[in-house]
Every structure is written in C-alpha cells, then in structure tokens.
Amino acid sequence: MSTEQPSEGQPGVAGVIIEGLYKSFGDNEVLKGIDITVNPGEVVCLIGASGSGKSTLLRCVNRLEDPNAGRIVVGDFEATDPDVNLDAMRRQIGMVFQQFNLFPHLSALENCTITPRRVLKRSREEAEAEALHQLELVGLKHLAERRSAQLSGGQQQRVAIARALTMKPKLMLFDEPTSALDPETVGDVLAIMRDLAQAGMTMIVVTHEMGFAREVADRVVFMDQGVVVEEGAAEQVIGAPSQPRTQDFLRRVLNPLGE
C-alpha cells in the first residue's frame, strides 16, 4: 500500500498511515482521534507544547505504547493488528530517543553490532563492517571503542542514529533528538538528520527546532491537547499559521520573552 512512489525516497522506504488513534493513560486521554498519513520518503515534523501528545503518538507507531483505538499501518505491517510480528516490524523502524539510550555496558561499535549479530544472526565481520560504515557516516568511526560514558551528548546521539541505521530501517522516528543536548552539539545531529532526509528516508520527527522543521520537513503537523490542530507545508504552518492555537504556540516558541 505504501511503496508506490518511486519518484521520492530510496527504494524500500515505508509510509505510515494513522487513522482515528486514541490513547489514554488512566483517566488522562492523551490522543483524541489522530489521522496522519506519511508518504514513503516524506519527512514530517510534529510540533506542539509538551503534553500535547506528540511523543506518545510517535511511540504508538512502533508500539512502544499500545493505542486504545485506531489503526496504524507501517509499510507492509498492520501495526495495530494484535497478531502482528512486533519484533519484525520494529526491525524496520529505527527510533532515536531524547535520552539517547545507548547501552552503557557496550562500546559504540558493540551498540551498533549487537542487534544485527544477536537478532539478525550476522557474522561479527559483516556486522562490524556495516557498523563502522555507519559510524563513519556520523563522523565517529575513530571513537568506535568508547563507551557511552566517554562520549559527549551529541556524540552519543550520533552513535544512537548509527545504531538505528545499521538495521537498515524503512522508517525513522526521532523523539526530540536534540532536546537533551548542549547547544553547540545540536547542529551536528541536525546535519546528520538533514542528510538522512535528503537521502530519501521516511522520517517522523518530534522537535522544537523550528529552523530544522522549516528547512527539512516536507510537512509540519501542529498538535495541541491530543488533536491535530493544523498541518501542511512547513512554510505555511510555521511561516503563516492559520489557527489561533498554532499562532499562539509559535509566538511563545520563537519569542519566549514576549514583546
């Protein structure tokens, strides 16, 4: 249903369809009927205040959270089908977390090889060659032997991206990937994400980086209190928002001290 757009994206990237998605934590309804379609090769940025449900939505896509109702399709996988092979689906979805979540007992290289070796049963040589290639692409091949405690935040996040890419995903999810970084390291991570987008990867990015959204996103979705308030081209949603709630949010983000 989703690989029929050869003009965009590298071969084999996946699209995402989200229909009527609801999610509650106890009495707290976080997602209240979300409909979003992401075409293969498209980059969609989710923006909105904290608590608006962006991260929960992202975590529903690879089923780290179980939605209460609705349907999600990722490439060939019916993500919300109770019988779906979750592990097989997740192998095609790379995820990058705000807190990096590198495995601290393993080196950067081993972080990138453990899943290919243990789950995909790749040989050590094959897995290490691929991992070193990915680490080189994020500029960290020379630090392959280091553990996460010996890497800066920005370096850890770049390793985390390389780790996700060694699985050859068809979709990448980014959950506020630069929110925990020192300001001077944000640029390196965003540059890698931009390159990945230009290479044709399908990406859903939860972010507060409006500059990145404007430059890289094909589409921007503004969420507030569990619903999609406004979506469209980045220029339109960020540059000329039509909804009062979007206008209010952007005013506060772009000019935190007010007038």
Partner: protein, 281 residues
C-alpha cells in the same frame, strides 16, 4: 592567637587520634598476654595441623562455597526473573520460596538435606552435595532479591531501546538488562559470597568424614586433639580470611573495570591512538 579553620580542624583530628591511641595503650597494658596466648595463640602444639588445614579444610570450604554460590547464582537469577514475571503464579512461587529460605535459619536447611532427604527418598548424599545444595538453596533466596533490585535499577529506556531495535523480550533481558543489573549488584553479590563462605561451616550439624572436613570442623577437632586452648579455631578463622579478603579485592577490581577509573584510562588511549576524522561536515 586565633586559629584558622584549617588549623582548628587539624588540632581536632590530632586530639581525636591522641585519645584513641591512649585508650588502645591502656587496653594493651591491662591485658594478661600470657594467658591469652596460652588459649588463643599457642602456635607450637598445633603446628601438626598444617598442611592439612590448608590442603583439606581450606580446599573443602572453597569447594562447598563455590558449588553453593554458582548454583545459588543460577537459581537466584531464575527466581528474580520469576518475581518480575507478568505471570502471577511465577511471582507467588518465587515470593514464597524467597520468604521461606530467607526467613529460616540456614542450619535447618542443612539438617533437612543431611537427614531429611535420605529418610524421604533413600538417597545418600555426599558431604559436597549436602553442603553445596544447602548453600545454593539459602543463597539463591538472598541473591534473588539482590538481583531483582538490580534488574529494576536498569533504566526503562534501556529495554525500550532494545525492543525498538527489534530485540525480542528475552534477548533484551539477556543481552541488555541482566548484564547491566550484574554490574549494579556486584558489591552486594560479593557480600553474599562472603556470607556463604562462612555459612559452609554449618555442615558440622550433619557430620562428615575427616577427608570432607572444612575449616571450622578441623578447628573444632583441633581443640580436642591438641592442648592449645582455642588456638586451632583461631587458625581456622585466619584461613577464612585467606578466602574472603582476596574475594573482596577481586570484586573491587571488577568494579573498577566497569566503573569510571578504568574507562577514563581507556578513553585516553582511544583519543591518542587515532586523532583522525572527527566532527561531521
């Protein structure tokens, strides 16, 4: 003359040390050294205990403890996983086991295995089997709780990252959660190994052949054999230290290796060996 803070602190520490030394000196003067040596450190008559106390006693203590600890670790890991299971029956079984064997004196477990098993099944267990399994049963109950705490101390994001990469739950447990939990609980596990070392002496309640005797048994027998008071037990006590102190040192080294000291050294090596490439364009 006014004293600076630093001088005042040094003076205070000096007085504390002085009081301590004075108290120790008084104690030393009060002690009847001759009598004490007669009953506790009368080395000459007990020299025939060597080398047997090492080649038999120490070796047997080590064996019983090692078997007990290894199986205790395996059983404890299993019990910890059962306690964290989503299947309630596993949780109940593990909780009942842990509460029972943590709560009763270890000596009862030795008695049950030494006498109960042969009565119930007609099996004749060797001393190594009785001591090893008794220590494993008791040890696994303690180790399970230690490990459970360690598993729960691993940040949730670790398992999420592993699952998001496509690892099945058991693989995330084996490759990500358990290795990190063991690093966290290394100090309390060392403690557990030391406690088991000393608990191996409880095998005396079952009795054993001379060739199977461990340190405490040999020390107790020595009291009757030589006219040297309690000296044989003191010798056995020192032999325990020969096991437990190297164990502590080994654990401290392992902690260091996974901790920051060793990693910083490694980092230095990493950065000097290949200062190439670097940041992204």
């Amino acid at each position: 003359m006014a004293l600076s803070n630093r001088e005042r602190r040094r003076l205070s520490l000096g007085i504390q040390a002085g009081i301590f030394v004075a108290a120790a000196a008084v104690l030393v003067l009060l002690i009847d050294w001759a009598a004490l040596r007669q009953s506790f450190l009368n080395i000459e008559p007990v020299l025939p205990m060597f080398p047997g106390i090492i080649t038999t006693g120490l070796v047997n203590t080590l064996q019983y403890t090692a078997v007990g600890f290894i199986f205790g670790l395996l059983g404890g890991t299993l019990l910890a996983l059962m306690r964290l299971s989503s299947f309630p029956v596993y949780r109940w079984i593990a909780t009942a086991y842990i509460e029972l064997f943590r709560g009763i004196p270890a000596i009862l477990v030795f008695l049950a295995l030494g006498f109960g098993v042969s009565l119930a099944f007609g099996w004749n267990l060797s001393t190594l089997q009785v001591a090893g399994s008794a220590l494993a049963i008791v040890g696994s109950a303690y180790i399970a709780e230690t490990l459970r705490a360690g598993l729960q101390a691993v940040p949730k994001g670790q398992v999420e990252a592993a699952r998001a990469l496509g690892m099945p739950a058991w693989r995330a447990m084996v490759s990500i959660q358990i290795p990190q939990a063991f690093r966290i609980v290394l100090p309390p596990l060392t403690n557990e190994a030391i406690l088991l070392t000393k608990d191996s002496s409880l095998i005396f309640v079952v009795g054993m052949a001379g060739s199977a005797a461990e340190l405490t048994k040999m020390g107790r027998d020595g009291i009757n054999m030589y006219q040297a008071g309690l000296t044989p037990l003191v010798i056995a006590g020192f032999c325990y230290l020969l096991i437990t102190i190297p164990l502590s040192l080994l654990a401290r080294r392992m902690e260091g290796r996974v901790g920051s000291r060793a990693s910083r050294k490694k980092a230095k090596k990493g950065s000097t060996s290949s200062p190439v490439t670097g940041g992204v364009a």
